[in-house]
């Protein structure tokens, strides 16, 4: 049992160390790589975390993409008009939450179908954002300052890795911790989960199901808005119609594969961002993505070594690892770009599925009332 608790940390540390070593050997800068990965993961992390809370309250909002793009333009417009990126993020969150509340009113009071309303919200958000954004094309947003702690930020490797990010990276981390504590360790969090598991029971206990769900929906919208604003203010930084380009859908998938657990959702976002960045860097360095496969086998082999007692399986996994690495080393060619683009999706799905596999029962963590309409009776 002791080893089982240690398995995940060991896996994550091994993954990071192997990646850093691999980057060093292939002439990539592991620190720059890590910083790129962190930036790429933030929009997904914020949006997915917000959607997770919404779904925990029993509401399925498929409008993440729409809320993100509204956050992107509201944040961008506010930052340009006021010159303050902080106000921009605030406006992005407000915009996302406002759009989410439209969804809330429609689904909670008018009892519309959540799936259809969510899809409509995405279409509406994309169109509205394009309309608001008409006059914001080709404008440069004010730069968002990065943390600069004298001394700490200047330490080589540690400084750029931990002490030189923009404020949103730390805020996102704080949000993950906050959501984790709230859902798992607090009474209001328990009530929110109760509403998501069985809204009729929660209602008969006297909890205001609709109000609680509206609050969750607004929170989810605000976080999606922040994610969108991060895209238009930091990651790209520019306004472009349709610039979320599907990020909202990926965030939705990460919630499911992260099994509605905050830390796994974070892992999922980092995995997706990480593999996206890695595959682009591998291409630029003319290395075959087979290395990613070898890396996957390697982690899998370590995991099974820690948890399984079947020597044949272990032998097979280690052989697969060595074999793929050998092929990758011998034939340093690239594969079709379609497969390359597929890798972020594949790897994220495989890893999260594998990580959940050993606790199949606990894995049924989906809120029982997810997507069901609540009729207030009595």
């Amino acid at each position: 049992m002791k080893t089982a608790a240690l398995t995940q940390p060991i896996l994550i540390v091994t993954a990071l160390v192997t990646l850093a070593l691999f980057a060093l050997f292939s002439g990539l800068d592991p620190v720059l790589l890590a910083v790129s990965i962190i930036i790429a993961a933030q929009p997904l992390l914020l949006a997915a975390l917000g959607e997770m809370v919404v779904e925990k309250s029993g509401v399925l909002n498929l409008g993440v993409e729409g809320m993100m793009i509204i956050g992107a333009i509201c944040g961008f417009a506010a930052a340009v008009e006021t010159g303050s990126p902080a106000l921009g993020f605030l406006a992005g969150a407000t915009g996302g939450a406002a759009l989410a509340l439209i969804f809330g009113l429609l689904t909670q009071y008018l009892l519309s179908n959540q799936v259809a309303t969510g899809l409509a919200l995405t279409l509406f958000g994309l169109g509205l954002a394009a309309l608001i954004g008409q006059s914001y094309a080709g404008i440069k947003p004010p730069p968002f300052p990065k943390l600069d702690l004298p001394g700490l930020s200047d330490i080589p490797v540690i400084g750029p890795l931990f002490f030189s990010h923009d404020a949103m990276v730390y805020i996102a981390l704080a949000l993950v911790i906050g959501v984790w504590l709230f859902l798992g360790r607090s009474r209001p969090g328990l009530i929110l989960r109760a509403v998501g598991e069985n809204h009729d029971a929660a209602h008969s206990l006297g909890y205001n199901v609709i109000l609680i769900r509206l609050a969750a929906i607004a929170f989810g919208g605000a976080l999606a808005g922040l994610g969108g604003a991060y895209l238009s203010l930091v990651r790209v930084p520019q306004w472009n119609e349709g610039m979320t380009a599907g990020a909202g859908w990926i965030a939705l998938a990460i919630v499911v594969f992260g099994a509605w657990r905050p830390w796994r959702v974070m892992l999922g976002a980092y995995l997706f961002g990480g593999v996206t960045i890695l595959q682009l860097n591998l291409q630029a360095a003319n290395l075959t993505p087979l290395w990613l496969l070898a890396f996957g086998f390697f982690l899998f082999a370590i995991w099974r070594t820690l948890t399984s007692r079947r020597p044949l399986e272990l032998l097979g996994l280690w052989l697969a690892t060595v074999l793929t690495a050998a092929i990758a080393a011998k034939y340093p060619i690239s594969i079709q770009s379609q497969y390359l683009s597929m890798t972020p999706y594949l790897v994220t799905i495989i890893v999260l599925v594998v990580m959940s596999a050993d606790r199949l029962a606990a894995n049924l963590n989906a809120p029982a009332s997810l997507g069901r309409v609540f009729h207030k009776t009595g």
């Binding site: 404008i139 930084p237 520019q238 380009a245 682009l280 379609q338």
Partner: protein, 357 residues
């Protein structure tokens, strides 16, 4: 209230009848775009062409567009929707619409179709494209001169002949003036995804590229280049506002004149299926203004290349050129024929990495 409705109804009816009676029903022209009209690249320039039609013909035309239509099966539905709603002429403006366009065209023999960058035609389907590779020869020449790290980063979308041609022509021109130049190519498998394009630009810059070229539709890479203080080129559109310091020049697609001519042909009943592939000379491919950051003599030599190509004195692919595997493609003085260019599926010698297929 009721009176008003009746009045309006009567007025609408009267207007409708006069339009029919005079035979002045407007010609309906439809467009399918792969990205949003606000991408400030490829789709934006097509929409400029649409606006040029409206300006030229006034109320004699009615234009419609459907934006962000994914390539593949879904495109067929969008194209059919335009065809079924009475459009006389439909422009499908991305390579991936080729088969859907032909399929719908077969079902609507009276509607004229124009497919951009494709190679399959029918009685009512024309194809058209710009010889963008001519522009890339000019840009490659500038890039070869401007790079200090001898590393040019290239953000590519899909490995179709159009994109491969661009890479090859830019590489040959850069190599000509800078024998040490190296191209780092990243395939992003999308025409439009600003975040991914920005990530690709960052990856290339981190690996030493100090000039970025792109064959994707958004100005994201230009924005990153500006931020990181390196150089880039506008693609499909000028993109100057996204990188006032970074932008060296650009390839601008100028579709307006072609779109107007084709609309006129439909009005006159003279439209015929044909293939148009125009370059710098007819103005379908424009070279954007040269930045002051480029030394004067390089500006002059780049202009000379553009002029020579326009005058037909120079070809982007002139031998001796070998394929990547070392086999001879073009002998000394030989120029590439259009057939090979249209189906180009190989890198020229000197480019590293394997071309995805």
């Amino acid at each position: 209230m009721r009176f008003l409705t009746t009045l309006l109804g009567a007025a609408a009816l009267a207007l409708g009848t006069t339009a029919f009676a005079d035979g002045h029903e407007p010609t309906k022209v439809g467009f399918i775009y792969v990205g949003p009209v606000g991408d400030f690249g490829w789709s934006y320039e097509h929409d400029q062409g649409r606006l040029a039609i409206e300006e030229a013909f006034g109320d004699k035309v009615e234009t419609t567009y459907l934006e962000s239509v994914p390539e593949g099966p879904d495109a067929e539905r969008a194209i059919r929707q335009l065809a079924a709603s009475g459009h006389d002429l439909i422009f499908t403006t991305s390579f991936g619409y080729m088969n859907p366009t032909l399929k719908v065209a077969e079902q609507f023999p009276d509607v004229k179709f124009e497919h951009a960058t494709g190679f399959k035609r029918a009685d009512n389907v024309s194809t058209y494209s710009g010889r963008f590779y001519e522009g890339r020869t000019v840009l490659g020449h500038i890039a070869g001169h401007m790079t200090e790290t001898n590393t040019i980063g290239y953000i590519a979308s899909f490995p179709i002949p159009e994109v491969v041609r661009g890479i090859n022509s830019a590489y040959l021109a850069a190599k000509e003036v800078n024998p040490d130049v190296e191209f780092k190519i990243v395939w992003v498998s999308t025409w439009f995804d600003p975040a991914k394009e920005a990530d690709a630009a960052n990856a290339l810059i981190e690996q030493g590229a100090d000039v970025i070229m792109q064959h994707t539709d958004s100005p994201a890479a230009m924005t990153i280049a500006e931020e990181k203080g390196i150089y880039a080129f506008g693609q499909a559109s000028d993109m100057k506002q996204f990188g006032p310091n970074a932008r060296l020049s650009s390839i601008i697609d100028n579709w307006g004149p072609y779109y107007i001519a084709r609309t006129q042909a439909v009005m006159d009943g003279t439209w015929e299926s044909m293939d148009t592939w125009d370059g710098i000379a007819p103005g379908m491919t424009e070279i954007g203004e040269f930045s002051d950051k480029i030394p004067a003599e390089v500006r002059a030599s780049a202009q000379a290349i553009a002029d020579a190509i326009a005058a037909g004195e120079m070809h982007s692919f002139t031998g001796p050129v070998n394929k990547q595997d070392g086999s001879v493609w073009l002998a000394e003085g030989e120029t590439a024929d259009d057939g090979t260019l249209l189906g180009m599926n190989f890198y020229v010698e000197g480019i590293e990495g394997e071309l995805p297929n």
